[in-house]
């Protein structure tokens, strides 16, 4: 299992593993996602409180799985409509593989983010805003890097499966757009992940399904510029 995950990280996974998806590898990807993203999620939430770190450790893999499930049908359809030749099952497998790559990278970075957190001025201090900014920037960079690497691996796999660069690119961007669109909203529903010092530590905010990520962004935009 570890050998296969290493092959996945190196980007040397054969297209044959997608032609006949294996249940053992499916379990391996799920385990990688749960372990890697939980550990990393814990380092995100720890800044606010130890309890928040537990909540975020649970919610981070949950966010990934819910995004995969929520977009499963449309991703499968897009893959077929765009001519990649992938079935629904193969699509789900490919997307899980890319999330597994991202989770493994995040897991590898978690000692470093924990070290940054250790050095960040505490919440109650005058320099808390600097600590919060550095933490936020570090997490954004790490998550962005993990996302870019995961999508590069996915892009390579799609190229092997479809045989065409254009098809692979079209499928990748359509999946990315859908996953980002739904993922942002699910992250909003599952908030908080980092936690605000002014608000209590909660697993979910009151009435978590109310409100919309894009409306919140629009309101913030209007407050700034209008």
């Amino acid at each position: 299992m570890i050998k296969h995950l290493k092959t996945l990280l190196r980007g040397e996974v054969d297209a044959r593993c997608l032609e006949k998806p294996n249940v053992r590898w499916f379990i391996a990807y799920c385990i990688a996602i749960v372990l890697g993203s939980s550990v990393y999620g814990a380092t995100i939430g720890l800044w606010r409180a130890p309890l928040q770190s537990v909540f975020t450790a649970i919610k981070f893999p949950l966010l990934i799985f819910l995004t995969c499930i929520g977009n499963g049908a449309v991703n499968g359809m897009l893959a077929q409509v765009l001519g990649s030749g992938l079935s629904f099952r193969q699509t789900a497998f490919a997307i899980l593989m890319s999330f597994a790559v991202a989770s493994l990278i995040l897991g590898g970075f978690s000692p470093i983010t924990l070290f940054i957190l250790y050095n960040a001025p505490p919440l109650a201090s005058e320099q808390a805003i600097i600590g919060h900014s550095v933490m936020l920037l570090a997490h954004v960079c790490v998550i962005a890097f993990a996302g870019v690497m995961a999508n590069r691996r996915l892009s390579g796999l799609l190229r092997k499966m479809s045989g065409h660069d254009t098809t692979a690119r079209a499928v990748l961007f359509s999946w990315l757009a859908g996953n980002l669109f739904l993922g942002a909203q699910l992250a909003w529903n599952l908030r908080p992940f980092i936690g605000s010092p002014q608000l209590a530590v909660q697993f979910l905010r009151e009435d978590p399904l109310r409100g919309n990520f894009y409306e919140a962004v629009w309101r913030a935009f209007r407050h700034l510029f209008v």
Partner: protein, 243 residues
């Protein structure tokens, strides 16, 4: 008679150092140190054999010990308790930095297309730290002379960091060499990791401060980032002089 023509492409300056071949007498730790300096390619080769764990352990021990020895020179500027506090902090800080960055190094080697075992990756990192500590020991007399000529923490801190950067630059070449030995498809990943490792080590010096100047507490009571601490020290907010 005409001299033979020069080859059209000159070999790189350090090409001969990285010939990947078996190391004679691999069980001898002193020989390992000698090869680390003169023929690091042999160390890279040995770290992928079955006895790699023993060699890696020796390299880690020598690396920590070497940094601790340099720590004596660092602490000599203040004297007193700093003569043991500085080596302890530098040795412990090095070990902690290695442990923090090891998981990401393993991930980055995979991302770079390298099929390496965990013991080989560990060994390469320990070898890098060991090589940098050997070079630091070489710089120790120079550092001591300067430490006796100035009371400025900022100047000496910058000088120690400079020597460390030179040492670790050679050390990180070993990790790059491991990548080449194992057929990395992309060396950019290991270079990114090298930057992360250097940043972690820089921050570690702030986490474990003070190292040069004496203090009432063993560890700092206030948390700061590396740059914030440096700017405050340069601006004189922190205690600047030793005496």
């Amino acid at each position: 008679m005409n001299p033979p023509p020069l080859p059209s492409k000159q070999p790189s300056l350090f090409a001969n150092n990285f010939v990947f071949e078996p190391m004679p007498n691999p069980g001898n730790p002193i020989r390992a140190l000698e090869n680390l300096l003169k023929y690091p390619g042999r160390i890279v080769h040995e770290l992928h054999q079955t006895r790699a764990a023993i060699l890696a352990t020796w390299l880690l021990i020598f690396g920590i010990a070497g940094v601790a020895i340099y720590g004596i020179v660092v602490g000599a500027q203040s004297g007193g308790a700093q003569m043991w506090i500085a080596p302890a902090k530098l040795g412990f800080g090095t070990l902690l930095s290695v442990l923090i960055c090891l998981p990401s190094l393993y991930i980055f080697t995979c991302l770079g297309g390298i099929d390496a075992q965990l013991r080989s990756v560990c060994g390469a990192l320990f070898a890098a730290v060991c090589l940098s500590s050997i070079l630091l020991i070489g710089f120790a007399p120079v550092a001591w002379i300067f430490s006796q000529s100035t009371d400025s923490i900022v100047f000496m801190g910058a000088l120690h960091l400079l020597f460390w950067i030179i040492g670790i630059r050679f050390g990180l070449r070993l990790i790059d060499a491991m990548g080449r030995f194992l057929g990395a498809t992309s060396r950019g990943h290991l270079r990114i990791w090298s930057v992360i490792f250097v940043l972690v080590c820089f921050q570690m010096t702030t986490t474990l401060r003070p190292i040069i100047a004496p203090s009432k507490t063993f560890l700092p009571t206030e948390k700061k980032f590396f740059l914030a601490n440096w700017f405050e020290t340069m601006n004189g907010t922190n205690e600047k002089k030793v005496k």
